[in-house]
Symmetry: C2
Subunit: 346 residues, 2 copies
């Protein structure tokens, strides 16, 4: 990926919430500032995990810090999220998660009971993901120096043999699959944060996807051209990244986008587009079109993937765009967002 | 290491600053809470880094989150500290640092100029340490949700062939060496935080020690029985950990403890004992006594180690204690501290 220093950030004086959004402002911060100083080829790829080699063994290495607010939400908490997030980043590089580190920063006065609940979630998510915490660090800071707790997990995974997955491999003709319905995590956290009383329960989709992604890659890995989890910025932003990195256009069919009626209803009320809401237990696969029906049939038998569908296709024209064919038959561009939609969602 | 659930933490309701101190309260939190939920054998060893195997290649994996206040201090900043801390943890397992991850949490409104300065420090420290940042994550949180910036680094290192270093290898007769004068980091940060106007300049010792520890281990590795960096809790706490893990008593000679006159003077005024002040560019080596003079002569030629000296010896009696032979010829026990001496020092 070409790294250019974008001049307009040099005029800004302060970091803003938009710089953490997952959208264009964050890409700007990363390219204009971080990559200017830290210029390793692995980092410059801007993948969710770095691909590294020890002797001849390919490993993936990834890191993620979690600042979600509130720390407990329907379907999960900061602990399960911290494991899922890093595990899924490793999986998106075709790597089987092996080991996690756990860096805790805790505010003085944080209830021990809540801390135990979070540790229990970390334990269960690790068991589910087939990994374990092997090293850690604990810092406690004064009251008001941090808002509750913040958790960093870093992870090492072993890349499956004969698998080579990058965010940039999409080619015209490929199908774009999503492993389940979208938007749950964003709505679950926002509803909890804003004390919305919802009829029915919208639970976050947050989950480690080892038990679905590894079998999927073992069977269909040769046909998978790109794999990403649609976290910050959601499906639209992640597909923009794939389209941009692959210099290809992706066309989505609005009618096929899986959104539960509850998520749809709350999104309408709050003014969110589910295509931009983060998921924490879903993945997008760009796959050879011929493999689509077998892949979908297989995925629907796997954990967390029963609602897998084809979302759209990769086309040739106008490299780097994502287009939506709307229900009424029109087409509109799905841009990458510039500002911050949902701070502290993960 | 035997893990027992210590009952007294179960009566506490809230996390306190003492739980992040590096002393007995932190060990209590780790053993009674964290290891109860997260029980991998690697984590239970409570080393600064986990030893793991990929194929037959031994690697070390470590993590550390940095919350130092203020972020800039004489001799360094949170960026150089974040690299040094994790690099040194890898080195203390006998591992050559290969790759770092970088997890940033930044407060909205943080000056871009300061951010650049920190990135520049990270870059220089990585070059010095012979490593690079290969993967990263950036979160921005709202004003007041964090105090400025917090940085997690995790690192992967390659353990040198034929080297096996643990915190528990000290045996009676061994010599205890320290690689330079102690207490600088603690005093530098405290002085800056409290706006003390000091005559002369006490700079932090924070530095990545790759260029001294790797040659030292290549030459003397077979004679090194334990290696640790005296960070939180300082020399006294770290030696207590070694003594406890090794079931051996360590006796220090007060006359031989290297403390600069400036650090000594400020410590006296502020009421600190330099033996409990954190260092971020020093290491303690427990080594076969016969190798002492050669090792010291060699170390004094290496970067950051010109003031290396023998501090004391490992003796047989009263397993697990650290004793100090005072200038007046008496002996006193150097306990592990229980509470928090210096919050947000790293």
């Amino acid at each position: 990926m070409e790294i250019s220093v974008m001049p307009d950030i040099t005029d800004r004086e302060h970091i803003t919430l938009a710089h953490g959004s997952g959208g264009t402002k964050m890409h700007e911060l990363i390219r204009a500032e971080i990559l200017r100083f830290l210029d390793s080829p692995e980092l410059a790829r801007l993948d969710d995990a770095a691909e590294l080699t020890i002797d001849e063994h390919r490993i993936a290495f990834s890191t993620d810090t979690f600042v979600v607010k509130p720390v407990f939400f329907p379907g999960g908490d900061i602990g399960s999220l911290a494991v899922s997030g890093t595990v899924n980043d490793l999986l998106m590089k075709g790597a089987r998660p092996l080991w996690l580190s756990l860096g805790l920063v805790i505010e003085e006065g944080f209830p021990v009971e809540d801390f135990r609940r979070i540790l229990g979630s970390i334990r269960r998510a690790c068991l589910d993901a087939g990994t374990s915490v092997v090293t850690g660090d604990t810092k406690v800071v004064g009251k008001g120096d941090i808002d509750g707790i913040c958790i960093n997990t870093s992870g090492i995974g072993s890349i499956l043999p004969d698998i080579s997955i990058r965010g940039s491999g999409a080619v015209p003709g490929d199908a774009v699959l999503v492993s389940g319905d979208i938007g749950r995590h964003g709505i679950a956290v926002m509803a909890e944060r804003n004390h919305l009383r919802l009829r029915g329960n919208i639970a976050s989709d947050a989950a480690p996807l080892t038990r679905s992604v590894i079998p999927f890659l073992e069977k269909f890995g040769g046909a998978v051209h790109a794999l990403r989890d649609p976290t910050r910025g959601g499906v639209a932003t992640t597909l923009n990244e794939i389209a941009d990195a692959s210099s290809a256009t992706i066309v989505l069919d609005e009618a096929s986008i899986p959104v539960s009626s509850q998520v749809r209803a709350v999104s309408d009320i709050l003014g969110f587009d589910p295509l931009y809401l983060p998921c924490e237990g879903r993945f997008l696969a760009v796959i050879e079109n011929d493999a689509t029906s077998d892949a979908l049939a297989f995925l629907r038998e796997q954990a967390h993937c029963t609602d897998a569908v084809k979302l759209g296709s990769v086309t040739e024209k106008s490299p780097g765009e994502v287009l939506l064919t709307t229900l009424s038959g029109g087409r509109r561009i799905l841009d990458m967002p510039s500002g911050e939609l949902l701070p502290r969602i993960c």
